[in-house]
Amino acid sequence: MIAPSIEYSALLPMIIVFGAGVVGVLVEAFVPRRFRHAVQVILALAALAAAFVQVVRLGGTEIIGAVGSVAIDGPALFLQGTVLVLAFISMFFFAERRIEAGGNAFAPAASSLPGSEEERVLVQQRALQTEIYPLSMLAVGGMMLFPAANDLLAMFVALEVLSLPLYILCGMARRRRLLSQEAAMKYFLLGAFASGFFIFGASFVYGFAGSLEFAEIDAALGARVGQEGLLLAGVGMMAVGLLFKIGAVPFHAWTPDVYQGAPTQVTAFMAACTKLAAFGAMMRLFYVGLGGIRTDWQPMLWAVAIATMVVGIVVALSQTDIKRMLAYSSIAHGGFILTAFVAVDELAIAAILFYLAAYGFVTLGAFAVVTLVRDAGGEATHLSKWAGLGRRSPLLAATFGLFLLALAGIPLTSGFVGKLTVFTAAFQGGAMPLVIVGVLVSAVAAFFYVRVIVLMFFSDPAPEGPTVAVPSVWTTAGIAVGAVATIVLGVLPGPLLDLAEQAALFIR
C-alpha cells in the first residue's frame, strides 16, 4: 500500500480560508475585546483576498486531489472564486457599525436570553459580536469545498461544514431576536432532515456502486444490472438533500422564514453564496457521477424546475414583506437555473456559472439596501413602508430599482444576460416546455418587481415612513460594487461569459 498524499498547492485556497476560521477562533480566545473586531475583520478580508489570489493562480488547473475526494477544475475554481468575491463583499456588510449605533447587526452575545438583564447590560457596554467572522470563514470554506467535492463523503462533509455555521449565524440577529432564533431552529431542524436524506441516499448509491467516488459510480452505472432500484432511490434521496439547499419546491418551505428571520446581512451572504455552492455540487454529482443515467433523473428535475418557478413567483406576488418577497424570488431563480441544469452540456454549465455569479451580486446588493431602510423597530421590511421611498432617497431607491430590474431580467442588467443564457441553454438542450414556462413566469415576475418600483417612485410616502440610515463606507462600498457589477455584467458580459465557457468542463 502506497501512502496517500495531499495536493496542498491545489487546495491552498480552501486551506487559507479554513485556516482563517481556526485562527479566528483563537483570536476570540486570546485577543482582548477592544481589538477583536478590527483583528477579525482584517483577518477575514485578508484571508478571502489571499485565497482569491490563489484561485486566480490556479486558473486552468485540472487535478483530482486528496486521494480522489476533491476535484480542482474549471467549474470548481470559477465557483470558488465567485464565492470568495461575494463573501468578501458580505464581510463589508458584516463590518457595518454605523447603522446600529455602536454595534453591528448581531446580538452582542447570542447566548444571552432575549430581553434579559444580561442582554441589556451587554448592549449598554456596546459589546460587539465578533464570532460571526470565524463562523462565516468556516461556512465559506465549506462552500468552496462543496462544488469541488468529488466523492459522496467529501460532499456530505462539505454540506455540513457550510450549513452548521449558517444555522448559528441565522440566530444571531440584534433585533427581533426571537424571530431570528426561531429561524435558526427551523433551518437547523429541516437542514438536518435534508442532510439525513442525502447521507441515506448516498449509502444506497454506495450499496449499488461499491464506491463513493463519482468516477467509479459512473463506471458502475451500466455495469450492474438488476439493482437499479437501489440506485434510483438513492439518487432521489441525494437530490432531496441538494435541492433543499437550493430552495427548490417542494423543499423550499424553510427559505422565506429563514431569510426573513436571519439578520439581513447573513441573508444576503447565504442567499448569494449557498445557492452557488449547492448548484456547483449538484452539477458535479449529477453530471460527473450520474451523467450516465440522465434520462432517469431529467424528468424528475423537469417537474421540480417547473414547480419551483411557478410556486416561487406566484407566492411572491402576495408577499407584503420585502425580505420574504426576495426569498420567494430567490426560489424562483433557483428554478430558472434548473431549466438549464437539465440540458447537461457545456453550454448549460457556462450558463449556470454565469447566472450564479450575476445573481449573487444582485442579491447581495438588494438585501444590503434592505438593511438601510429603517424605523424605530429596526429594519422596516413591510412593503407598505417602502411607498414613496423614491421621493425621499432617490439614489437609494434607484439603486434598489436597478437590482429589481436585474432580478426581473430587463436588458442592460446582468439578470437579462443571465436569463437569456440559461434559457438558450435549456432551449438547445431540448427543454422547450421549460423555456416556455420560464418566459411566462418571468413575465409575471417582472410584474411584481415593477410593482415595487411603482410603489417606491409613484406612490405617496407613508406618513410615518422609515428613515434611510446613512451607512458607513463599508455598506456603501458593498452596494456600489453590487450595482456596478449588475450594470457591467449587463452591458459587457463578454469577458465573464468567456471565462465561464472556458471553465465549463468537469474533470472526471
Binding site: 500500500m1 501512502a3 496517500p4 498524499s5 495531499i6 481556526v22 477562533v25 483563537l26 476570540e28 480566545a29 486570546f30
Partner: protein, 119 residues
C-alpha cells in the same frame, strides 16, 4: 439480493429476540411492585424531585457532554491511525497532528471563554 440475505436474517433475529424477551419477562416474571421499582433509575441514588415532563437540564451539562465528545472522537480516530501508523507514514503523522491541533482549538476556546468554570 443474496448479498443482503444474512443481513436481513440478522435484523429479523434481533427483532424476534427483543420481542421475545419483553413478552417472556412479563409472562413468566414475578410481579411485586413497590416504590423503588416504580421510581426512575438514576444510578441507585435517590431521584431528585422533577416537574412533569422532565424539566430543564442545566446548560452546563451539555457543555461537559460536548467536551467529552470532542475527546471521544479524538480517541476514535487515534486507534485506527495507531494501528496503521507504519503504512501511513509522514502523511499520516502530519494529518494526525493537524487533527489534534484542530481538536485542541475549540477546547482552548471553551477554556478561555469560561466553559470549564463550574460556577
Amino acid at each position: 439480493m443474496d448479498l443482503y440475505a444474512p443481513m436481513i436474517g440478522l435484523i429479523i433475529l434481533g427483532a424476534v429476540f427483543a420481542v421475545f424477551s419483553v413478552v417472556v419477562s412479563t409472562v413468566i416474571g414475578p410481579k411485586r411492585y413497590n416504590r423503588a421499582r416504580l421510581d426512575s433509575y438514576e444510578c441507585g441514588i435517590e431521584p431528585t424531585p422533577q416537574p412533569v415532563g422532565g424539566g430543564r437540564i442545566p446548560i452546563k451539562y451539555y457543555l461537559t457532554a460536548m467536551t467529552f465528545i470532542i475527546f471521544d472522537i479524538e480517541i476514535i480516530f487515534l486507534y485506527p491511525w495507531a494501528v496503521r501508523f507504519d503504512h501511513l507514514g509522514v502523511f499520516g503523522f502530519v494529518a494526525m497532528v493537524t487533527f489534534l491541533f484542530l481538536i485542541t482549538v475549540p477546547f482552548v476556546y471553551e477554556w478561555r471563554r469560561g466553559g470549564l468554570e463550574w460556577d
